[in-house]
Symmetry: C2
Subunit: 456 residues, 2 copies
């Protein structure tokens, strides 16, 4: 008998799950229906800042696959602008609202994938709903913001929040010729970096002409006729034509919680490593779930397309009667702001202490190529290691061109519980165009190993 799979959310996690399920179960065995409340499927949310910057010219370029393609090539039915408003686990039904028609209906399922994504944090402040204030969570947000900039007349913008999105949007706005101020509650942008490395990012941002207001919070927005006029913080008032909210996101798990699915302390839906929820036949994947941090061994919710894709794939393989597991994360991430690249993996110093580790840390400065080779650029590499054992707990990189992606090597060393002493022997690629004879990772490992030796 044909089973029906309903997928809630048609972006990375949902569509990966649907595609993998289809790979393993034909249309006669599994009917697949996807409901997506937005206008697009399978797009790159991480590409939105580059659309706004006009580095990517058309929103369509960010869309990997359109609904028609899912339908014709994979026999996956996708309904855009359809929001799932409730899940009835007893009756195995979801309630659906057609956002265009305004009508509602119910749809039964045998298998369900919850891939509802994340919701941007939107502070409840006076004026926050004024025209001119933008979140950037879904592609529609990015398109709206891009159109606003294209219309002209945006001279001054304020970015609220100094995380990945805040940084990338600040870069985008600078590239669009806008004067940018960034308000960040913490003492540095990129709070996922340690303060010393975050300080380097602050320097880079200032050198681009971005004004940083650190240690400040937004208290409200001044508006006139529903239009933004100014941003008010704990320390100042700034006239602004545009505000971008980059205060992070939280798992969009309310629908799941209301249905009775288990939701964790992070706010993410709880799954096992096969991406099964607490209810049989109900799966969850992507930004709406909480996952396992392999170093801290704690649950964590990280909204990132790469995890969403992998988790969706795992859910799809398993509900397709294969076997796959999602092994957790080590918190690897990268971004750039103009010529400065930023990357991190594992735990920062404070995170490591909070997780109960005693730590040592080293920072080394080196070059991305042999010092004599044209294009050799500076990079700083920080390693956070467990005192005595010398086990790598985390790494951070801030540097120029070709710096950030080197974090992958450190992420894999971390993944495999390597010590810095072990890492001093690693066989990394050496050639003058790619690395000094002592690779930056080896230099950092050596220095960290010496530090560990000195303290034991």
């Amino acid at each position: 008998m044909t089973e029906r799979l309903v997928v809630i959310g048609g972006d990375a996690a949902g569509m990966s799950a649907a595609s993998q399920a289809r790979r393993r179960r034909g249309p006669d065995d599994l009917d697949i229906v996807v409901f997506e409340r937005g206008h697009h499927t399978s797009y790159s949310a991480c590409g939105i800042p580059y659309l706004v910057a006009d580095v990517v010219h058309e929103a369509e370029e960010l869309v990997a696959r359109r609904p028609e393609e899912f339908r014709s090539r994979f026999a996956i039915e996708v309904h855009l602008r359809h929001e799932v408003v409730d899940i009835d686990l007893d009756r195995r039904q979801v309630g659906i609202r057609d956002l265009e028609a305004g009508s509602e209906r119910r749809q039964g399922f045998d298998q369900l994938v919850v891939a509802t994504g994340a919701t941007p944090v939107r502070p409840r402040l006076a004026g926050v709903d004024a025209a001119g204030i933008y979140g950037v969570q879904v592609l529609d947000d990015g398109i709206a913001l891009r159109r606003r900039l294209d219309r002209g007349g945006v001279a001054r913008a304020v970015v609220v929040g100094g995380g990945y999105i805040g940084l990338e949007m600040a870069e985008a706005l600078v590239q669009r010729g806008v004067e940018v101020a960034l308000v960040e509650q913490g003492g540095q942008p990129m709070s996922t970096l340690d303060p010393d490395m975050g300080g380097l990012v602050a320097d880079a941002m200032r050198s681009l002409g971005i004004t940083l207001h650190l240690g400040e919070s937004v208290t409200g927005f001044e508006t006139a006729d529903g239009e933004l006029r100014a941003v008010v913080t704990t320390a100042r008032r700034m006239a602004a034509d545009l505000v971008v909210l980059g205060l992070g996101v939280r798992p969009n798990s309310q629908l799941a919680r209301d249905a009775g699915l288990s939701v964790g302390t992070t706010g993410g839906i709880v799954t096992d490593r096969q991406m099964r929820t607490s209810i049989a036949g109900v799966w969850a994947a992507g930004d709406c779930v909480e996952t396992f941090h392999r170093v801290s061994r704690r649950p964590i919710a990280i909204a990132l397309g790469t995890h969403a894709n992998k988790q969706g794939r795992v859910a799809g393989i398993n509900l397709g009667k294969g076997y796959a597991t999602f092994p957790g994360v080590v918190g690897t991430a990268a971004t750039k702001i103009c010529g400065v690249e930023i990357a991190r993996t594992g735990l920062g110093e404070a995170e490591a202490e909070a997780a109960g580790f005693e730590t040592e840390a080293v920072v080394v400065e080196s070059t991305t190529r042999a010092g004599y080779f044209p294009g050799a650029a500076l990079m700083k590499t920080k390693l956070i290691v467990e005192r005595r054992s010398g086990r790598l707990l985390g790494a951070q990189i801030v540097g120029q061109e070709n710096a950030a992606k080197r974090i992958d090597a450190l992420a894999i060393a971390l993944w495999n519980d390597m010590t810095v002493e072990d890492m001093t022997g690693l066989d990394l690629a050496y050639a003058p165009p790619f690395s000094p004879v002592w690779d930056p990772i080896l230099i950092a490992a050596r220095k960290a190993a010496e530090r560990v030796e000195d303290t034991t």
Copy 2:
């Protein structure tokens, strides 16, 4: 009582050993004397092609540290143009020839580091000693070749051998405006790559205007008045103004062998993991030793500055009464030819079969950045895995900008005996400027894992 350390060879391995020994033992405890037969210490041999290309302008830029600096900062006595001509292990003495003065003397030692490097393979062919035929092993070779090109009148060059040096010298000569032909005995350049990946390198070379004569050997050189006129191969005769020999190197272990030190089947001096030779107090490091290949579990001799530095460091730490080990290699290497980057690690398909593995291999094409991001370039990634277990045995990359250094991540996965199934879950850095949402490594791991699954 002060011990005396004699170091034979003042390049990467020898000077690393001397420096590390000094870090741990002061001048009152250890007297350090280095004999180097060339004109330079501690230079980047891997930088020679870039000096020839005039990408690096001055030979001095390749010299990391000069003898005066070793003397004044580290109390390490370095004698340039002094060749060690024999080692007397019974009397603990070396015989030294002063190449400038022509005189000889003997020098006692308590500890000895043999760091005699490698010798280029120079075929015994008619005319091979003619003016215009260059090896490129030591910096003096590179300087001589650079001067020849600077003098002008070099229109046609033949590079003999299609390995790393041959490739890099071909690139250098093209950059100097010379018409280049390359003669390679095998069916492809870069025999350290599998044929499919080597074929991509051949295509890249041809597109630069380099003529490839594959499956041919040089049988002799035509000369007139001691000057090169033409190169004769098994298939043709080519007029040439210049020849570069890039036929590889072999460990320079004759001195050690004559002294009675154990030399392995690879021709390299045998050491343990602390870099001790078969005789107490005698250490060896760098291109003159054989090391352990962690995947094939066989001895291998690889001439590469990064290994030389590490091995020298290990020898120096141990003879400085510390403790360090060299863990072996996985054969990681990278190079580029103009815009095409090449990298490999572990075993190729044929090497893996020869080492007794049954293998599967996959090749995937992907982009270095998100497909929609400016600068996204093509790269091919090949994984060689053990059949059934899915353990990664080797990887090869041929691609455009920012492709090669990604091999490090694969080298570390290999180092840690990861399976491709494990690798599908790796937490690698994703952001549109650095990677597609499925990193090329993850795509390759997925495809390889599916292949392994299909065959078991």
